[in-house]
């Protein structure tokens, strides 16, 4: 038995003109955690999709356990012992954990015997890998961290020896991510091989044994994690030195641009998600809203931007009231100088089936410059898109490409370019760098600070505490729908962490 789990030899893949993978060679050792990093669109997901049988390579061989295999679909991948946890989970929402785990892997026509067998096996797996999750819980009722655990259980249930995780931490809160890393450590100790894609270099340093770097479709380096550093990896990825923390001068706050007073918002089930929240946002400052995901930040953004009705409170934009408790037209808010980068770019910020240029005018399609009477001015729209593509380095630089075919980070840049290039007075941004590579993060952060220095008011929501601390001039912490404290950006991580967990907050509120 060799100690090599997977060997990819000369893998090549093109999508039309896009050469996504160029002659890729990769060796993954058994029983290791192998990190793969690379810029947005470097071809990481494509390579993994080839390994998992979603795509067929144009050229090249896949060698598993010393045998050359053809993986023509995911079933073949599973048969070869490969399991994959997708960034967007593939679970049936209204099935239980147990049903999801056994779906497609029932070993008998009679469901009852399958179920009881599966239950026993699931219990065993849970014990062995400390992956506790209630087998009878419905998926839709589980937080994302647990849903991900179900994905891992699914792979293990199918006897996967090799586990691929494509950006698994993008959706996780820090404690959930820590837990995931403990699980991965355990799996490794049991002899499983793990391929781990991420944009967070800290995670690479923390848990991987080896790391491979991709750039523009090529595999540019593979090294032992111990022998490298965050700075070196960032440079390998982008091909130049990267500022991992942007520099910014002192803020110069001016008049109040956005005033939120006693805002209360309920979700569709009637649960109060934002509870009597008040704060001010001034010109020339960045206010960050920190908090563990699901503590009302999303609903707060939605209410301010006119997507969700509030049940009480007031919002003033440039001193003029927004009727947040009645029907608000987002178009009207845009005209009044508010721009909004929504958290969910796939469902809200973009129409994935549109061409890139079409998404470049979403929400601004009333603008005279994109129209000729009732007709679209396709030339102007195209030219506008090309300009933004250049300025924001969106790749591939093709405004006619379907948006779904851009990588995640480039999709994010499409939204940012659209909202920032308007020069709004108030910019509200949700998760600006989710799934975005270090080079692009540097760029986006610089642009956000530039906006501030031009006297714009920026409201930032992010689950990345690092990002909040790096950008904000003031930090507001939300817990359970309430503002539990305000801090300077030099507050320690520990202090903010306690606030976010609702520990400090309760004390403060009691005082």
């Amino acid at each position: 038995m060799s100690d090599i789990a997977i060997e990819l030899r000369g893998i090549d893949k093109s999508f039309g003109l896009v050469h996504a993978n160029k002659n890729i060679n990769l060796t993954v050792r058994k029983g290791t955690i192998h990190g793969i990093i690379g810029e947005n669109g470097a071809g990481k997901s494509t390579l993994m999709s080839i390994l998992y049988g979603f795509y067929q390579a144009d050229k090249g061989d896949i060698v598993i356990d010393g045998k050359t295999v053809t993986i023509k679909d995911p079933n073949a991948a599973i048969a070869s012992g490969i399991g994959m946890v997708h960034q967007h989970f593939m679970l049936v929402e209204n099935f239980t954990v147990l049903e999801n785990v056994m779906l497609g892997a029932e070993d008998s026509q009679i469901l009852n015997t399958s179920i009881s067998k599966a239950r026993v096996e699931l219990k065993r797996l849970e014990k062995e890998y400390a992956l506790e999750v209630n087998p009878d819980a419905l998926i839709e009722q589980l937080p994302v961290g647990l849903q991900q655990r179900v994905e891992i259980l699914k792979a293990l249930y199918r006897k996967a020896d090799i586990l691929i995780l494509d950006e698994p931490t993008g959706v996780l809160t820090p404690p959930e991510a820590d837990h995931l890393f403990r699980i991965l450590g355990q799996l490794k100790d049991q002899g499983k091989t793990i391929i781990f894609i991420t944009h967070k270099l800290r995670e690479i340093m923390a848990i991987t044994d080896e790391v491979s770097v991709m750039r523009r479709g090529e595999m540019v380096a593979t090294c032992k994690t111990k022998e490298t550093s965050v700075e070196e990896l960032a440079e390998l990825m982008v091909g130049r030195r990267v500022l991992l923390r942007v520099e910014k001068g002192a803020a110069n706050p001016g008049e109040v641009k956005l005033a939120v007073e006693n805002l209360t918002v309920r979700d569709s089930r009637g649960v109060t998600m934002v509870d009597n929240v008040s704060f001010n946002l001034r010109a020339g400052e960045i206010v960050g809203i920190a908090g563990v995901a699901g503590n009302g930040q999303s609903e707060l953004l939605e209410a301010i931007s006119g997507i969700r009705k509030a049940v009480g409170g007031k919002v003033l934009l440039n001193g003029q009231p927004i009727d947040v408790t009645a029907h608000v037209d987002p178009r009207d808010l845009r005209d009044r100088g508010l721009a909004h980068v929504p958290e969910d770019r796939h469902h809200v910020g973009l129409v994935l089936k549109f061409e890139e240029a079409e998404n470049g005018i979403l929400g601004y399609h009333h603008d005279k410059r994109y129209l000729k009477g009732v007709f679209l001015n396709t030339k102007a729209i195209q030219a506008d898109a090309e300009e933004k593509i250049k300025k924001y380095d969106i790749r591939p630089p093709n405004p006619r490409l379907k948006t779904a075919n851009f990588s995640g980070g480039n999709q994010q840049k499409i939204v940012l370019a659209r909202e920032m290039e308007r020069g709004p007075d108030v910019l509200i941004i949700g998760q600006p760098t989710r799934g975005v590579d270090v080079g692009a993060i540097e760029f986006i952060h610089k642009r956000i600070i530039e906006m501030r220095d031009q006297g714009k008011a920026v409201l930032l929501v992010s689950v990345e505490l690092d990002e909040i601390r790096a950008l904000s001039d003031r930090i507001i912490v939300m817990f359970a729908g309430r503002v539990v404290g305000e801090r300077d950006p030099d507050a320690t991580e520990g202090e903010l962490g306690l606030l976010m967990a609702g520990v400090e907050g309760r004390k403060e509120a009691a005082e």
Partner: protein
């Protein structure tokens, strides 16, 4: 990664796959013909010959196609905004009122080219109004158009029975229909167009409303891909949440799109009323509204696909009538079965052959890459 199907070249996507679906539909239909004890090759011959064998047959095929282009476009426009308008049937029926009123009013005094534009406006207006109500009910009250448009089909049908027996029928006439229009209410045939190809139109009712249908198809293309309204419709059709974010009013779009859809359906009435029968009869729509759903599905809601799909269904209608005539053991219902199979394979089972074709393409791609490599070495 959500798309498990390999990407196919355009010609395979839009040409090969529909063709294969069609061939399979015909093969299965052939089996049914075998089952009733007839020779499927014979039936195929009568079908093709009956649809294209002579200038006159072609004229009939294109006459039906004209009708289906209008209803296909009607359904497709609504599709693009994520609305499923099952009411084209009723909207076309009510659209007939507009045509009939224009003709009854002016046919004796004005030439056809004066009456025609008025009839176009009238048919579109009545069709649009019939679609406005379900659209408005969905926008304001949340009643789903799929349900309400079906109900409106029944209401339209009862209403027309009433109008044609009590109001529009001339005194002393038995049949529930309007009087026959004079010259001003009769559209010219397109014999000049046929004679360019050296064909004789014969008795077929192929008329200028065909040109209007082509114009409408172009208009729909412009509307959907080149106007602001079309952009808003597509946004809503692809992603209602993105539409809300972009400030695109769902209620407004729903009402407008339903009216455009209804207007297109209404214009279908021009073809049978002014182009063939020269009067409005009971049930002149004859299910064309429902065929429109199949045409839109098969044409992938794109005008460039809807026109050939409409011709195909025109062929099934015309050729089918010929089969029924030549082969008495095959009734007209057979044709309905064939149409059903086409809808089944082209619409519902659209993706059935896709994975296999995708694999075949991937295989060819790999082999040729390997071949290129070995040649290079």
């Amino acid at each position: 990664m959500s798309n498990p199907y390999a990407k196919l070249p355009g010609w395979a996507e839009y040409g090969l796959i529909p063709l294969i679906n069609l061939v399979v539909a015909f093969l299965v239909a052939g089996l049914v013909v075998l089952l009733v004890g007839e020779n499927p090759l014979n039936a195929a011959y009568h079908m093709i010959n009956g649809a294209f064998g002579r200038g006159e047959y072609i004229g009939f095929t294109l006459y039906y196609a004209t009708t289906f282009i209008f209803t296909g476009l009607s359904v497709a426009v609504a599709f693009h905004a994520g609305l499923f308008n099952i009411g084209s049937e009723g909207q076309a029926y009510i659209g007939g009122i507009g045509v009939a009123l224009a003709c009854l009013w002016l046919d004796k005094t004005m030439p056809w080219f004066v009456v025609f534009p008025l009839a176009i406006i009238g048919s579109a207006f009545f069709g649009a109004m019939w679609a406005f109500l379900p659209g408005w009910l969905q926008a304001k009250r949340g009643s789903h158009v799929v349900i309400t448009t079906i109900m409106f089909n029944f209401i339209a049908s009862s209403l027309m029975v009433y109008l044609l027996t009590k109001v529009l029928k001339p005194l002393g006439q038995m049949a529930p229909q309007t009087r026959t229009f004079e010259a001003g209410g009769q559209l010219p045939k397109l014999d000049w167009l046929m004679s360019i190809f050296g064909l004789n139109l014969g008795n077929s009712p192929f008329n200028v409303s065909f040109l209007l249908a082509l114009l409408a198809a172009f208009g729909v293309w412009v509307l959907i891909w080149r106007t602001k309204l079309g952009y808003e419709m597509r946004t809503m059709g692809h992603s209602p949440s993105a539409a809300r974010y972009a400030g695109i009013g769902e209620a407004r779009i729903t009402v407008i799109v339903m009216m455009i859809s209804g207007g297109l359906a209404g214009m279908m009435a021009l073809n049978p009323i002014m182009g063939e029968q020269y009067r409005m009869q009971l049930d002149f729509v004859q299910g064309a509204g429902f065929v429109g759903i199949a045409v839109a599905l098969m044409g992938r809601s794109h005008p460039a696909g809807i026109i050939p799909a409409a011709v195909l269904f025109g062929m099934l209608y015309q050729g089918g009538a010929e089969i029924a005539f030549e082969m008495p053991s095959i009734s007209r219902d057979m044709i309905v079965i064939i149409q059903g199979l086409v809808i089944l394979f082209a619409g519902a089972l659209e993706n059935m052959f896709r994975p296999a074709i995708g694999r075949a393409f991937a295989g060819i791609g790999r082999r040729s890459a390997v071949a290129a490599q070995t040649r290079g070495a």
